[in-house]
C-alpha cells in the first residue's frame, strides 16, 4: 500500500487528485494506494486510512480546505511514502516548497514536485540529500509540463553526452510571438489578447521577461547536463521590446522569432532568436519544443504541451509510476 501526501492544492494538485480518483487506471500501474493528506497554505484534510479526494476537491471548490494541520505538521506527524509537492513557485527563496522537500527527504519519503523554486535554489543539496536517504526526488513536471524531458534525457538517452539543450520552455511567450508572427500586431495588443484568454496571468512579467524559461533552463542544466548552475548564471532577455516589424523583416530572410532557452558549454541563455521558418522549434501557439543535441544519438526533438492542469499532473503521475510501477513494456 502506497501512502501519498499532496502538498499544494491549486490547479496542479487538483489535477493530480482528479487522476488519482481514477483508481482502476492508476492501480494497474502502481498497485494499491491511498492519499492520506491533502494540504495547502490555508488548511488540510488528513486521515491515516485515506481521505476522499472527491470531497477534497468539492471543499476546495467552495472555498478553502478546512483548518487543520499545516504541511510541516503533517510531515512531522504522519506516515506517508511519497509527497507530491505542488505549492506555488518562488524562485528567489524556493519557499515554502524547499522546506517541505527537505523535511520529506530527511524523514525518508520520496518527493515528486512540480515546483521549480526549490530546484532552482538548491538542486544540488536536494539531489544529494535524496541520494543519502536513499529516496527519489522526481521533478518531470517542473520543465516542459507534459513533455518527457528529464527522464528522456537521463534514462532514454543514457550513455550519451548531452552537448546542448535548446528550446521553447514558456508557452505564454510562444503564444505571443507566434500570434505577432501571424497577425503583425504589436506586443501590447497580443498581450491583452492573451490576458483575455487567460493564457497569461495578471502579472505577466514572470513569463515575458524570460524568468520562467530561465528557471526551467537551470533545472535542465543541473539535472541532465550535470552543470552546477544558479539562476544568476543565466543571461536573460525577454520579449517585451520586439516590434511587429521585426517579424516582417525576419520573414523576408525566411526567419521567424521565438524565445529560446539554450544551455551549452558556452553558458546559459534565454533570449529571442531568429529561427528558419521551417525549423522544428518554430512551433506555434502555447506549445513547448526542445531540441537535445547529444554526441551519440545526435538530435532529438520533443514537442508538447508545456502547461495545463491535467498535462502537468500527467508528468507527476509518470514520476509516481516511475518510482512504484512495474514497467509493463518489459
Amino acid at each position: 500500500m502506497i501512502r501519498i501526501a499532496i502538498f499544494g492544492f491549486g490547479a496542479v494538485g487538483q489535477g493530480v487528485a482528479e487522476i488519482l480518483m481514477q483508481r482502476e487506471r492508476i492501480e494497474r500501474w502502481i498497485g494499491r494506494y491511498e492519499v492520506v493528506a491533502v494540504a495547502d497554505s490555508r488548511g488540510s484534510l488528513c486521515s491515516e486510512d485515506g481521505i476522499s479526494l472527491k470531497e477534497a476537491i468539492e471543499v476546495k471548490k467552495r472555498g478553502s480546505l478546512p483548518e487543520g494541520k499545516s504541511v510541516m505538521e503533517i510531515i512531522e506527524s504522519m506516515d506517508f511514502d511519497v509527497a507530491i509537492e505542488a505549492t506555488p513557485t518562488n524562485i528567489e527563496t524556493g519557499e515554502p516548497g524547499l522546506s517541505h522537500i527537505r523535511a520529506c527527504l530527511n524523514k525518508g519519503s520520496h518527493v515528486i514536485t512540480s515546483n521549480k523554486g526549490p530546484l532552482v535554489v538548491a538542486y544540488k543539496e536536494l539531489a544529494e540529500l535524496a541520494k543519502k536517504k536513499n529516496v527519489k526526488l522526481a521533478f518531470e513536471a517542473t520543465v516542459g509540463g507534459a513533455m518527457p524531458l528529464i527522464k528522456l534525457a537521463k534514462r532514454d538517452l543514457a550513455g550519451n553526452e548531452i552537448i546542448s539543450i535548446k528550446g521553447i520552455l514558456n508557452g505564454t511567450c510562444n503564444y505571443i510571438l507566434s500570434r505577432m508572427e501571424q497577425e503583425r500586431l504589436s506586443y501590447q495588443q497580443i498581450l491583452a489578447e492573451a490576458k483575455e484568454l487567460k493564457i497569461v496571468e495578471a502579472n505577466a512579467s514572470y513569463d515575458v521577461e524570460g524568468i520562467d524559461s530561465a528557471a526551467k533552463l537551470v533545472i535542465l542544466a543541473n539535472a541532465v547536463m550535470e552543470m552546477d548552475a544558479t539562476f544568476n548564471d543565466v543571461e536573460i532577455v525577454g520579449i517585451t521590446s520586439i516590434t511587429p516589424e521585426a517579424f516582417e523583416i525576419a520573414m523576408e530572410k525566411g526567419y521567424t522569432i521565438r524565445l529560446i532557452a539554450e544551455a551549452s558549454r558556452d553558458g546559459l541563455r534565454v533570449s529571442p532568436r531568429l529561427l528558419p521558418l521551417h525549423h522544428p522549434l518554430a512551433v506555434r501557439g502555447t506549445l513547448n519544443a526542445v531540441l537535445i543535441q547529444t554526441d551519440l544519438a545526435r538530435e532529438v526533438f520533443v514537442i508538447g504541451r508545456g502547461a495545463g492542469k491535467i498535462e502537468t499532473a500527467s508528468a507527476i503521475i509518470s514520476d509516481l509510476v516511475d518510482i512504484y510501477g512495474n514497467d509493463r513494456t518489459n
Binding site: I242, T243, E245, I257, Q293
Partner: protein
C-alpha cells in the same frame, strides 16, 4: 590565405587547362574546384572555366598576371569573406549612432556589415533592422557577433541572433 575565383576562356583543345593550372601550383595555390561551363561556349568556340583556389593573398596579383599572359581571363574576384549571418537589431538604432554601431564591425578588418534593411515606422519609436555580417571565417564571425553584442548592450539595443545550428 585568400580564396580566389577565376573565370578563364580556354580553347577546346587538349592541354589548355594545364597552362592555367601549372602557374597556380608553382605559386603554392590549392585548387578547390574546376567547373567547365560547356553550355556557355563563346562565339569563337572557347569554353569558360571557373577555377576556385586558395592562395597566399600576396601572390594573387602575380598569379593573375601570369594567367593573363597564357590565356583570356574573363573575371576574377577574391572571395575574402566566407562566413555570413543575419542579425536583427531592435531599438533606437539611429539615435544611438548607427554609423558607430556598423563601424564597430567594419573596423575589425576581419568582418563587415554587407547588407542592412531597416524599418522606422514612427519618429522616436524603436526601429528594427536586419543586418548581414560577413567575416573571414566562422571563428571570426563569432568574434564579430560578440563585439556587436557588447555594443548593443551598451546602447540598450535588443539583438536577436540566429539559432546556431551547427552540426554536432
Amino acid at each position: 590565405m585568400a580564396i580566389v575565383s577565376i573565370v578563364v576562356e580556354l580553347k577546346d583543345q587538349p592541354g589548355q587547362l594545364l597552362r592555367v593550372l601549372e602557374p597556380i601550383s608553382r605559386l603554392g595555390g590549392n585548387i578547390l574546384s574546376i567547373v567547365h561551363q560547356r553550355d556557355k561556349k563563346t562565339p569563337l568556340g572557347r569554353i569558360p572555366v571557373e577555377i576556385s583556389l586558395q592562395i597566399d593573398e600576396k601572390k594573387v596579383e602575380d598569379l593573375i598576371k601570369i594567367i593573363k599572359s597564357e590565356t583570356i581571363v574573363r573575371s576574377y574576384n577574391e572571395v575574402r569573406l566566407i562566413a555570413t549571418t543575419s542579425i536583427m537589431l531592435v531599438g533606437h538604432i539611429i539615435h544611438t549612432d548607427l554609423g558607430d554601431t556598423i563601424n564597430s564591425i567594419d573596423r575589425t578588418g576581419f568582418a563587415e556589415v554587407v547588407d542592412m534593411h531597416i524599418s522606422m515606422p514612427k519618429l522616436n519609436e524603436p526601429s528594427t533592422a536586419m543586418v548581414t555580417i560577413s567575416a573571414t571565417g566562422k571563428e571570426k564571425l563569432k568574434e564579430a557577433i560578440e563585439l556587436l553584442r557588447d555594443v548593443c548592450r551598451r546602447k540598450g539595443i535588443l539583438m536577436i541572433e540566429p539559432l546556431n545550428e551547427e552540426p554536432v
